[in-house]
Amino acid sequence: MCEINEDFHDRLECVQDVEGGLKKCVKCKEANASVVIKGGDAHCRACFKENFTHKFRATLGKNRVIFPGEKVLLAVSGGPSSCSMLRQVQEGLSQNAHKKLRFLPGIVYIDEGGAVFRSSEERQKTVAQLQAIFKATGYPFHIVPLEQVLDLPSSTILTAPSASQPAHTGAYKTAVDQFIQHEISSSAAREVQEETDVYESQEPHTQALQKLIGSAKTLTAKQDLVNTLRQHVLVHTARSKGYSKVMLGDSCTRLAVKLLSNISTGRGAHLAQDTGFSDTRHGDVILVRPMRDYSAKEIAYYNHVFAVPSVFIPGLDTKNADKASIHRLTESFVNKLQADFPSTVSTIYRTSEKLQTVCGSSSTADPCDRCLLCVCALDTADDGVSALQATLTSEKLSKFRGNTRPGMPVLISGELRQSAPTVRDCRSGEGENCGQAQVGGSCCSSDMKPEKTDLKSTLCYSCQLIVKDLSSVECLPQYILSEAMRRQRRSLMRKEINTFVFA
């Protein structure tokens, strides 16, 4: 019923057939079947593993985003999905693999214990467990605490131009051929550089981070904020260590939940970037999601049967009630629906494949057109009738109107448009505009405290909702605040010279 073209009235099959004996695998038809993942098809372990591995390769190969010889950063959170991704990369790169993958991986783990209020002993224990897993792979790894977000440079939230990557498909094949030639000619064994960093977080930083997370009043805002900061740290780590691609371990189920919760928080314009295979919003660092074809069930089964180690780390919404936050609510909604209508997750996934970003994600776009926090194109344009306009109208109508009697049509439609905060009144005089514009385009008062209204014009719709939930924006890291001020000044400058600039 849930899919419009579905003819769903067959009952699901189980591994045992009517007589009670075990069914045969539908693929090789020889071995006994041991798992039913979806669609009623039972597979044996060997066929399942082959299918699993093949899907990983196919996803990477179909999209042709990762070029041979590139440095790719694997973002491992310790959860089953990202550890499974790690194992797939290991197997794909191993010497005896058929048509092995060709890139140089590195691993990064971002320790969010500070945001979740874990004690430092617990954090060290988790880090030690993960270190053991990473060391066993032999790849260079970096362990970065989330506290590092307080020290990031401003360039993190700016889109850098992407490295010259050939766009046409023929170039991928030539790049692969060239790489193979190079490999054959250089027969010397490659030295693997064990470049590993383990940063220890300091106490004052942890407290500052906790204050920042604590300033968000609702759990939804907290989660969104932590996700945004985590992504900033990830991009910064990739940039500073010279990685051009980052692999995220989001599974199909996780992405379906993410799609719905993003729609619920107003991120409809950016769905393709948030849930698609490749995320190009940062320009030079591209985020890919190779695990997006796998359901959580498949990954769990694979990890269980083939002994993939993973570490459970509690997050912000662990052990919380269903209605604690939007993400938690969406997760329980999708899981409940999936139990009754088994094709829910795959239908949502297919819907996400058909979407695209509203504005082109060109790296030459003016940085002022992108959101400060999520680095996606702004979707707050004022164009006639829209949900945004309706919200602004309601806000205006509910505010204090003084002595005007109700029933009098005082507001004409033109005046109801709330203008974006343009010129801020200078605080130096008696509330009058100082009217001065110095070379840097800044106002004369130097100690302007950042306020929520300042940030609003630099944020997209859903990031505005996050900031609205913060009790004070001063706790935000310095790089965000200084970039916001810089954009304010530039837009003031722009308004002054608007009539003289073409386009």
Binding site: T220, G268, L271, I348, A390, K399
Partner: protein
């Protein structure tokens, strides 16, 4: 200590607005609600002066409030519209016949002309008879498809230029979510539009003036204005898939009040990739109504009902359209698939 209205500051606050959280008095709330609808109508340019507008009235709270607000705004701002009520009788005993009494009372209260069209006279089937054949699941499809055509036929009979329906913000948000869950990308693109495109002679354009009004605010408005409406749910609705989306939206609203408008914002800003196959609008070969297939959905459903094959409109059957059009008999296997689960 009683809270003062945050809007006029004079009277005591009687209610809290679900949309913004402000505490306001009754008069300020009425005024704000009506102003918002007025703003929606004006900025979306929904009507032109002198048009004949049919208000789709079911007797429920949305259409009652819509009729009231349209009448008020028409007089207050001089839209110059000629308003009339249009109602559809699906033939659901215990639900629709009671709500139609409410519509008749509304007609007298607002002094607007009224026209009722019924499924019985248009198609020869009432919803009760349909449910007996189809079963308790999938019958919302029949009701919805038939009602759409019924509204259009009624509008043509009344010679109106536009239809306005009482869809509120919660309805639009539910529709967005349902279309994502069902993977219907074509509808996803269109469902947040405030008015439909007006192509073809058999189609009357329709609009949703209450698109940004929360359902809770509509109830508050109706309650405090003491409007007369019928408040029972359709007796067949508990089994509908839409119920899941509705529960989810209600829970979302309790977590964050602005979620409903956020979902509408997301829906408005979605864009579909090029190259995705979209249905092309054409006309039905049998009745001339607009359709993206050879036969419009209503004709297909009716054919299924009349032949005793109720699943004809529900399962995949596009290949059989040609056969149905030519009135050829279907094979035994096809018939078996299309028969109801109950039979």
């Amino acid at each position: 200590m009683p809270v003062q209205c945050s809007c006029c500051g004079e009277k005591r606050a009687m209610l809290k607005r679900p949309k913004t959280g402000h505490s306001v008095c009754k008069d300020c709330f009425f005024w704000a609600f009506e102003e918002e609808v007025h703003e929606t109508i004006v900025s979306a340019k929904l009507f032109r002066h002198g048009e004949r507008v049919g208000i789709a009235a079911s007797g429920g709270k949305d259409s009652t409030v819509l009729a009231h607000v349209m009448k008020v705004l028409n007089e207050r701002y001089g839209y110059g519209l000629e308003l009339m009520l249009l109602s559809v009788d699906e033939g659901i005993t215990g639900y629709r016949d009671d709500s139609l009494e409410t519509v008749k009372r509304n007609q007298q209260q607002y002094e607007l002309p009224l026209k009722i069209v019924s499924y019985e006279e248009l198609y020869g089937w009432t919803m009760d008879a349909i449910v007996k054949q189809v079963g308790l699941k999938n019958n919302c499809t029949f009701c919805g498809v038939f009602r759409r055509q019924a509204l259009d036929r009624g509008a043509i009979m009344l010679k109106v230029d536009k239809i306005c329906t009482g869809h509120n913000a919660d309805d639009v948000a539910e529709t967005v979510l349902m279309n994502v869950l069902r993977g219907d990308v074509a509808r996803l693109r269109r469902c947040t539009a405030i008015s439909t495109a007006s192509e073809g002679e058999a189609v009357v354009p329709r609009c949703k003036p209450l698109k940004y009004a929360y359902e809770k605010e509509i109830v508050l408005y109706a309650y405090f204005k003491k409007l007369d409406y019928f408040s029972t749910e359709c007796i067949y609705s508990p089994n509908a898939y839409r119920g899941h989306a509705r529960t989810f939206i209600k829970d979302l609203e309790s977590v964050r009040a602005s979620s409903i408008v956020d979902i509408i914002h997301s829906g408005e800003n979605l864009s579909v990739r090029e190259g995705v196959k979209m249905p092309v609008q054409g006309t039905c070969n049998r009745c001339g109504y607009i359709s993206s297939q050879a036969l419009c959905k209503a004709c297909v459903l009716l054919e299924g009902l009349n032949r005793g094959l109720p699943r004809l409109g529900i399962s995949k059957h596009h290949r059989l359209h040609g056969k149905i059009l030519a009135r050829q008999p279907l094979t035994e296997k096809e018939e078996r698939k299309l028969r109801s689960e109950n039979s």
